[in-house]
Amino acid sequence: MAASSAIASSSTAFINKMDVGHSALSSSPSSFSIQKAKKRFSRKIVSVMAPQQSERKPSTTGSVKTALTMTEKIFARASEKPQLSPGENVWVNVDTLMTHDVCGPGVFGTFKKEFGENAKVWDREKVVVIPDHYIFTTDERANRNVDILRDFCTEQNIKYFYDIKDLGNFKANPDYKGVCHVALAQEGHCRPGEVLLGTDSHTCTAGAFGQFATGIGNTDAGFVLGTGKLLLKVPPTLRFVMDGEMPNYLLAKDLILQIIGEISVSGATYKAMEFVGTTVESLTIEERMTLCNMVVEAGGKNGVIPADSTTFKYLEDKTSVAYEPVYSDGQARFLSEYRFDVSKLEPLVAKPHSPDNRGLARECKDVKIDRVYIGSCTGGKTEDFLAAAKVFLASGKKVKVPTFLVPATQKVWVDVYSLPVPGSGGKTCSQIFEEAGCDTPASPSCGACLGGPRDTYARLNEPQVCVSTTNRNFPGRMGHKEGQIYLASPYTAAASALTGYVTDPREFLQ
């Protein structure tokens, strides 16, 4: 039994609920009830009151259907409303709630405080708990936080908890996955048309599956945990039309760096970013994930890509849950539309200290670097390592700076050690990395993307210059405040490792 019966689904404006509250409370003499109220009312929520509702059902009103974007359609379905428009606040039914070791303990603390010590989560099969941030560390508080996750998941009988107990050898933990956003996809939790909320800003990655996915805070997540619902504002949509054949030296990372450079780190604040066009259709699921992953770096609320045969094929062996994809109507209204010809783009970097500080990789060729990092939800997927291996293979040379490799998940790690790299005569990524002189691929986790505890592998503890396949380069992001991070694609990162300078991958790939 959930802690609260659900809020009535088709809620009207927020004010109506306040009217209900008003009338309920004003039935007793106010000065008297104030004193009584303090004693009589516990803080425990046993139900969320149904707001006043209209009896009019869409089928009976025959209202004219206006065209909707795919994000608006997902909101319409999740809020059980036939019509809605950007700017409207609606109560949304959540299909999946994800949390991890950094925010989970706070979410669970809020949940218990607000819903009661004995409260149960709204649906034990819709909560996914993924330890991934601070795992391979001796930091006692970080270790304790994973214990808090385990205790809560055991108590609540959470179905999807990807636990790790043996920190000395991640392979001894068959349940352990690693980076939550990649694990969500690999374990079949990302499905077209659904609503996924997570206590991590890069939850937007799942938009690659044609669903609404966004990051929320602990308090909001605590509310969702108890009710399965959240009040969300329907975002207007910016549409990005990308056409043209993708050159063999570009990756999705270059596309999203191009877009963020174009619209700035706040250009999509409160907005949905929809990616369409022949280029997007040609991208693999992992590349689509890279594209959607960094919409938050433009301030975006969510990124979204229409589901197609690529999506359905990826999902075939990953989920048995029925899903229903939605698509933008032909006449849907977009706040603005951006078009570009991908065939003319060049490899990019985001220079320190902002993801919108765009520059051409070849124009940064005099920037001497100290290290290269390949990992994270953005650039630590199987195809990211295959891309890096392709550059090392093409050059046949050794890296000139320390090159750190952190597979996002256990599955990615296995791929790095087992999948043959095309054109290599059967060599795996790991063999190619070893021949190139890279560091041995590390245990899967978020690693040094966000710095983390001092003993985190590959953390930037000195004011060094790093080319990284990660997502942010604000001061201090990877550890040291004076560190300089150049965000780049796996191609550009590998090429830079080979020269010791920021390097355009065309030097090796053509």
Partner: protein, 255 residues
Amino acid sequence: MAASASSSLCRNPKFTTLHNPQPSFGPLSSPSFLKLSTKSPFKTLTTFATAPPLTIPRATTPSSSTATTANATTSFHGICYVVGDNIDTDQIIPAEYLTLVPSKPDEYKKLGSYALVGLPSTYPIRFVEPDQFKSNFSIVIAGENFGCGSSREHAPVALGAAGVAAVVAESYARIFFRNSVATGEVYPLESEVRICEECKTGDVVTIELGESLLINHTTGKEYKLKPIGDAGPVIEAGGIFAYARKAGMIPTQSA
């Protein structure tokens, strides 16, 4: 520093932008996620008059004795700390301190000691002195896109725990704004003009919430703020759970 939006917009000729003029999207520029635009704000206040009393949050002045008048009389007075554009959550609370759990009271307190410790050395004055839990600065003044980056609620919590009552920025990143309101930790106020270059760290300022006004006593200048709108009562209540109870949206019943 980040390339500004204006300079980056014309940098690449391969991009074409088609702007559809859609005035109906106007309200979206307001970050208030709890819009009650269809009714008079007095409705809210009337409701509060009959609701059970709530803990008066830190940000409220002692003079505002009843909830009914709080919004009109709430003011914050103190010295300000001034930062620039795109202050991301890693600078507000670096990731290494995220092991602290905000819902645990002793760790909440400790988060305050690390507020804004991630700012680079170009900020010579520390926001919180070493070995202190609270900051001497109760108001933060910022440029655009304050709180961008991660969704960590630790960011508004760290500021609130350090004793910050309000942030006044030109604009906010979405999740930071929402987390500030959801937790009720700080008032995320927006200025109508760019004031981060006109105020200096250490200036004595007053914010009159009801009048949406910031007064810099050191320079003698006054600045208009954008009204906090419907998010105000939520923050004043102490966050969404407290507000929802107070508004009768979540009925509180005997255990």
